[in-house]
Amino acid sequence: MNKNPYSPHTEADRTAMLERIGLRSVDELFNAIPRDARSPRLGIGAGMSEQEVQAHLEKLAAMNKTAGSGPFFIGGPIQRRYIPAAVPVLALRGDFLTAYTPYQPEVSQGTLQAVFEYQSLLAELLAMDVVNSSMYDGGSATAEAALMAVRLTGRKKVVVSSDVDFTFRRTLRTYARGAELEIVDVPADRLASSADGAACVIVQHPDAFGTLVDVRAIADAAHEAGALCVQVTEPHALALLEPPGALGVDIAVGEGQPLGIPMSYGGPHLGIFACRGGLVRQMPGRIAGQTVDADGVRGFVNTLQTREQHIRREKATSNICTNEALAAIHAAVYLSLLGPEGLRAAARAGVARAHALANRIAALPTCRIANDGAFFDRFTLRTEMGGWDLRLALLERGIQVEATASHYVDGKRRGRDDVIVQCTEMTSESDADALVDAVAEITGSRQAVAAR
């Protein structure tokens, strides 16, 4: 029996194949390899049967505490949202899952139309002219937006709000090392005034802490200064908030994972990337476009490829090749299922629960909501003891939240030490109760609660 359980070759096959090639042993195929480097011992161990490997992975999985196993308020760009049963059933069909990039459009119309529809759905949501077929994630999409702005303006300074998600800012700074850009972090309220000489101004709305931001003002200021305005946003929020396209934004980016894609500890996810029509030739990534076949039947192809690495090589708008097409298909199925009403309902649920929860917590003498303004579906909670210790204390009670204390970027740490509380339609009443009770107890305003 074969050592690789997926190998079809019987010993008879191998012998016949060698004969046809005109060799006596497979080893002869490797004569070009330095002798002393051939057939290394790997030392990984023996192979396992599927049954054993499945059992092994179940053991590993059991060592984790899943989001669903207790009150869960961690969020940000990656969110625990309800995934309709039909999403994986459709998006994970072998026909999508095991296809390659659609190099032969005649036998890839499933992928190409689904991706074209993804682009169209996101264009509706963002009210932007053009959406590409995906980036790796929200972080690299943000970084690529900056690089695109640099190409468009010829400027090397990038101004970014310090209220942009810290992981996005990390990736931005890392990417910036390549082109040796100057990245300037400023508080949101100083963005407008810092646009001078910048290639772009990057603002997040709603921001990392859930606060709503007046993007239009920032976009206007940016344009004043000859800079572009890049908005980082979240798909569900746009069901209720004025979209980038209506705020004068030039490039809109974000993390698409909440659109029916599992959290999977950080990936694979979906980088949303959109821009104004006029900028498309500098856009990174693949783009599907509509056309017709030789019989005049509507069809789709990957187009504007002269932007891409396989044609333009070092002059390409990006090096991206393998992207996140399957995630884009997930998002398309998700949006098709939810429709405008469903998406609004999911978004409203997060907002309503967050606000209800914030009100209950704000009523605790030991706590205050630290957002500088109205917030959307997450908020920051400030207490005497500090967010870091509160997070640990909550974790001991099986409640998972995020602490701003871990928001370091390149060593530089943001001042505040709060806890961020994210709500979605998955946040239940009992989750909310658990959090309020625990916070009350930990921060010592038990009586206050009892009184209520």
Partner: protein, 504 residues
Amino acid sequence: MTVVKRQPMPDAGATDVKALEPLLIELARPGRGGRHVRAEANADIPPHYQRKAPLGLPELTEPQVVRHYTHLAELNYSVDGGMYPLGSCTMKYNPKVNDRAASLFADLHPRQSYRTTQGVLALAYELEEMLVKITGMDFVTLQPAAGAQSEFTALLMFKAYHAKRGDAKQRRRIIVPDSAHGTNPASAAMCGYQVATVKSDARGNVDLEALKAALGPDVAGFMLTNPNTLGLFEERVREVCAAVHDAGGLVYGDGANMNALLGVARPGDLGFDCVHINVHKTFSTPHGAGGPGAGPLCVKMHLRPFLPKPWIVRESDGTYHYDTAREDREPESIGDSIGSVKQRLGNFGVLARAYTYIKTLGDEGLTETGRDAVLAANYLLALVREKYDVAYDRTPMHEFVLSAAKQKKQGATALDLSKALLDEGFHSPTVYFPLIVPEALMIEPTETEPKETLDAFAAALNRLADRAASDPTSVHDAPKNTPLRRLDEVTAARSPKLKWQRPT
């Protein structure tokens, strides 16, 4: 997909365009919709921020959505459906157990504490160890989302490495062979490097003399794919690497073709300073119609300090955490690390599949994979070599490149042949790459195609060669038997339609 001509669907909805399947907006009707999430009537949002722009998402029922994507799925060719001999893409079988295993980790958030994700960290740590053993490198980052991001990551590390040694300013150039994949020069450019190309020699190797001539104090590094994109093992790989090192440069290993080397040879033993792995090729994770993938980067000791953060640490008690987050706090400094290109462990859901695959195969299975992949390619070549020109006539590794130059003279281009092959029920090889081979047909069978399928594929290729010789025009309007016939790419690019137009 069984390769077949399709007719437009009968329930195509109110559209008069000729189409295989209507667009979602053509199927939608105002007032339709499902009930997937809990209803919620109000949300307290200041009027100034409220959406005034129409939210033009289509309104559909779940049954419509299911049919729509079921119909679309049927229009795709896939590995589950047939042989997919795309050179450089390693379209091997994607085991189903890998998908099930990965789904066990779906409900975990990357910002959870290491305390609640010990299983994730244990898996990732062991995967790093396994990749070290397979590549012969010393350390690994799992962060890059794909090969291209891994290249970019590595070149950022090269830059940091040279900066540390004080000569980053002068080292502005990256050299790539003329056979290099497009992502190589593109990644170099993203790193602010100038890109120089060295030609290949008559045996399809890097022209060592030309390389030496190009090397100098201004060179940051050299990017080498081995086996290269011609499917050929770099015969003087150690001299090549040594030359680069002598010039103070670093050698990047593009590991997209690692499938050929599994258990056969280790880049770490050949002189490379680092190598990336496309787990969506070598380690059988499904390609998802264009992604996701994952591109772990394996490096030698001297590059370790520059690896992206965080790093996984294993305590003596067998517990795991991140070096930058012993208490989930970031450090005051990340040292010489370039930062991070993705958060924490990158595309973990993909990496979990690769881990499952490696565990399933083990030492012997991996070795058999490399050997079978090379055997299959050589067998297939033997079956078709009479009828086609072979770009470089050497024993290839896991793939080989034919040239349809002869057929082009006869009147059938590589494109024609690739389309005609679709009519034969097979996906086409990679065409017109590598660029240095005229009318290139780049063919990679992988180890999972049965001999009888290789025979059938070879027979089809040979039939096409005969048609090219006898009746070349007969392939000009191929494909005829696919869901659609040739698509008008020119118009698509000249007057781009990049999203649907709402019916007004």
